[in-house]
């Protein structure tokens, strides 16, 4: 089970995801509401995995992903995405995202993806 940093600009989504991840026995070490905060928290907390929302103010998820990857090439980042964002997610994958989960989140799928990315 891993230490996870949740990045999303709404508390609603963070709470939702936190509860799903808790139910899977994961440890939520931190939350961030935008890309800048995500990078700072990543460097501070060194989580095993980051769930990264794509559309956020200040620094979006792709830029944050790139910044985190630049700081730590082995960082494991899962993108939180929604139908219609295929192009953005592909860009994220090309920038080093290891997985993706689709809103609305289905707990089993989220946990499966997190488990797979953590064990890879």
């Amino acid at each position: 089970m891993g230490k996870i940093l949740i990045v999303d600009d709404t508390m609603f989504m963070r709470t939702l995801l936190k509860n799903i991840l808790f139910s899977g026995g994961h440890d939520i070490v931190g939350e961030a509401a935008d890309g800048t905060e995500a990078l700072a928290k990543y460097q501070e907390l060194k989580p095993d995995l980051v769930t990264m929302d794509v559309v956020m103010p200040k620094m979006n998820g792709i830029e944050a992903l790139k910044a985190i990857k630049a700081a730590d090439p082995s960082a494991k980042v899962i993108m939180c995405t929604a139908v219609g964002q295929e192009q953005m997610v592909k860009l994220a994958v090309k920038s080093g995202a290891r997985g993706y989960i689709v809103k609305p989140f289905q707990a089993p799928k989220v946990l499966e993806e997190v488990k797979n990315v953590l064990s890879a």
Binding site: D9, T10, M11, F12, M13, T15, L16, N19, A33, D34, V55, M56, P57, K58, M59, N60, I62, E63, K66, K69, P73, T81, A82, V83, G84, E86, Q87, M88, V89, K90, L91, V93, K94, S95, G96, A97, R98, G99, Y100, V102, K103, P104, F105, Q106, A107, K109, E112, E113, N116, A120
Partner: protein
């Protein structure tokens, strides 16, 4: 999957923020301000709303937000123009979303009935716009495959779960993960097609790798992916099979950690706007909790008063000192608490530009709406009450005040009318002004109407001053507009506005210059909960009078009292003031010659009291619903000794 009620509150709160963000940026978009920022912000908020509503299972809202997001995706890519009809449609959508949020907050689930038409209309816009272009930066350069270098090769047959959303991304992730283990020589169908999702559930990968079968097997059976088959090939066969001629893109795998990370990605290289985005640095506290805290602070204030009285009786020095310290802390706590309850007026001002726009569009008028001092703070308990009166005055100003562009030009004014809403703190009050440069109010019209409506006798009307005439606007049933429009509405007039403002312990004043414009001035106390009062005794009973209503305390002689009809008046320094004995409230008192002169809204009167006890800061509590509406009493207060004391409502006396 989860208890939806737990999330409902959070959902509504954050959705409202995003909803407001959309509305404000739509208006900013129309006014031609920083377009790109506005478009990005709307896209982001619509997207966030979509994601949240989908998670809550509010499908109707999700569909609507999804369509809005799609439109803004097109606008962002320059494939759709923003025009007035689209803005109208989008604003209607935001209204619907607001309605849905109201329904959700009340515990309901919005139905598609509210939004199906809107979704269709939005779809029509989307279908009318040119086909979506390829997103720049997505093109994968075709690179020739490397010559086989004799490593073992395998054919993997892979299936993507039919329930997978974005199977193209899933396939891409898999191929990328496989590339970390070796070199992908080819895929069937081609990699380009696979990564576009153009395969029917399964595809094959020919890979050269030294990682071994097990490693490949692990990677090839990830989330939503299953490995149908894995068969090793001899290295010569692998070499013969590659490269596939034609446009099949086969990528080299010499940078396994960050494959193709260096590709240009113009989508994300837009400059980051840092200051404009909102940043959440505050915590949320349930308003009811704040109210409970406020009640506790009020109890503390009351009990401090009690302690002070006890201390006075016994005169223990040490006790006094301790009490002083407690008193100071309580005062600080009280001030802090009042501060926390304050909210910037922006919270209600922000809704008004939309109203101005709608009314102006409806009437074919051009209006520049300026808001100043939105940061001025007011107790949150007053916010709700203030919203409707403001809305009414603003609508009136556009609807009746500002003229159409041709009329304005004929009168030598710029075609665009100016409507200014300002708020400021002035000593103990918050002053809100709504000023337009429109037609103003015609006093002659008022004069005529006053007689027609039986509000004045023809004689009185003929001699009435402009001020008196303008004040008639606040009389029930007095409306000078020739026709009742669907904008300004029917029934609710300025009299209701005035009543509402007075119920907030505020006053409203209007000034108007024909041809130059009209100005409404609202003066409000920043908070209603704690006020300074003068404590008086009437017929042996205590009663509190808000100090803001007290002009002076005077002594009189019986000869100065005159009877005028059924009422009494007094001549005080050349001024005739109506005099009230409040006998119906407090019973018949012994003769007293102490008067308290009261004023409200520029009008004065006086009441007879036995004695004046002094001035005190008290907490005013509203009367319970059980007590009903008591004319003359605006609330009650409990001073230190635990007595229940009525607070006079001076509005009803002058």
């Amino acid at each position: 999957m989860f208890d939806e009620e737990v999330y409902r509150k959070l959902f509504v709160e954050e959705s409202r923020e995003n909803h407001e963000n959309i509305v404000n940026n739509l208006l900013a978009l129309e006014s031609g301000e920083d377009q790109q920022t506005a478009i990005d912000e709307i896209f982001r908020s619509a997207h966030t709303l979509k994601g949240m509503s989908a998670s809550m299972g509010f499908d109707a809202m999700e569909h609507l937000c999804h369509s809005m997001e799609d439109i803004f995706s097109l606008i962002r890519n320059g494939q759709q123009e923003v025009n007035a009809s689209l803005t109208d449609l989008l604003l209607t959508c935001t209204d619907t979303i607001e309605g849905m949020l109201d329904a959700i907050e009340a515990g309901g689930t919005p139905s598609d009935a509210q939004s199906a038409n809107l979704v269709q209309e939005l779809r029509a816009f989307i279908e009318d716009s040119p086909d979506e272009q390829e997103v720049p930066g997505e093109e994968v350069p075709v690179k020739p495959a490397e010559e086989s270098d004799g490593r073992p090769a395998y054919t993997l047959s892979i299936a993507v779960d039919p329930s997978c959303t974005m199977k193209d991304v899933r396939a891409m992730l898999l191929l990328q993960n496989l590339e970390e283990l070796g070199t992908i020589l080819s895929t069937t169908p081609s990699r380009e097609l696979v990564e576009d999702g153009k395969f029917d559930g399964s595809f094959e990968v020919l890979i050269e790798s030294e990682a071994g079968e097990d490693a490949l097997r692990t990677v090839a059976s990830g989330t939503e992916i299953s490995l149908l088959g894995l068969s090793p090939l001899s290295s010569t066969t692998a070499g013969a099979k590659t490269p596939t001629p034609g446009p099949t893109p086969v990528c080299q795998g010499d940078s396994p950690v960050e494959p193709r990370a260096e590709l240009p990605s113009p989508q994300v290289q837009r400059p980051v706007k840092s200051e404009k985005s909102r940043e959440i640095k505050n915590i949320r506290v349930d308003i009811q909790r704040l109210d409970r805290m406020m009640n506790l602070v009020e109890d503390l204030v009351i009990n401090r008063g009690r302690l002070e009285q006890i201390a006075n009786k016994h005169g223990i020095k040490e006790f006094d000192e301790a009490l002083n310290m407690v008193g100071r802390s309580v005062s600080d706590l009280q001030n802090l608490m009042m501060g926390i309850r304050m909210m910037p007026l922006e919270r209600i001002f922000n809704r008004l530009p939309r109203v101005v726009r709608d009314v102006a569009n409806h009437d074919g008028k051009e209006v520049e709406f300026v808001i100043e001092g939105g940061e001025t703070e007011l107790d949150r308990s007053m916010m709700d009450g203030l919203s409707d009166p403001l809305l009414h005055i603003i609508r009136n100003a556009v609807n009746h005040g500002i003229e159409t562009p041709d009329v304005r030009e004929a009168g030598g004014k710029p075609p665009k009318g100016l409507l200014r809403l300002t708020a400021r703190r002035d000593k103990d009050n918050v002053i809100i002004e709504i000023e337009d440069d429109g037609a103003g109010i015609n006093p002659e019209k008022l004069r005529k109407k006053a007689v027609e409506r039986d509000l004045m006798t023809p004689e009185a009307a003929a001699t009435a001053t402009k001020e008196e005439l303008v004040n008639l606007l606040f009389e029930p049933g007095f409306s000078t507009a020739e026709t009742i429009t669907d904008i300004s509405g029917r029934g609710v007039g300025l009299d209701v506005v005035k009543k509402t403002i007075e119920s907030l312990k505020g006053t409203i004043k209007v000034e108007s210059e024909m041809g130059r414009g009209t100005k409404f001035e609202l003066v409000l106390p920043p908070t209603m909960a704690i006020i300074d009062v003068m404590m008086v005794q009437i017929n042996g009973m205590r009663c509190a009078i808000p100090i803001s209503n007290v002009v002076e305390v005077a002594q009189t002689r019986p000869e100065a009292v005159h009877r005028i009809g059924n009422s009494e008046a007094i001549l005080l320094r050349d001024q005739i003031l109506p005099m009230h004995r409040l006998e119906d409230m407090f019973g018949q008192a012994q003769k007293s010659d102490t008067l308290v002169v009261l004023q409200n809204n520029g009008k004065k009167c006086c009441i007879v009291v036995d004695t004046v006890d002094g001035q005190q800061e008290v907490v005013v509590k509203p009367l319970s619903r059980l007590a009903g509406n008591c004319r003359g009493i605006s609330g009650i207060t409990i001073p230190g000794d635990g007595d229940v004391v009525p607070v006079l409502d001076v509005n009803t006396m002058v």
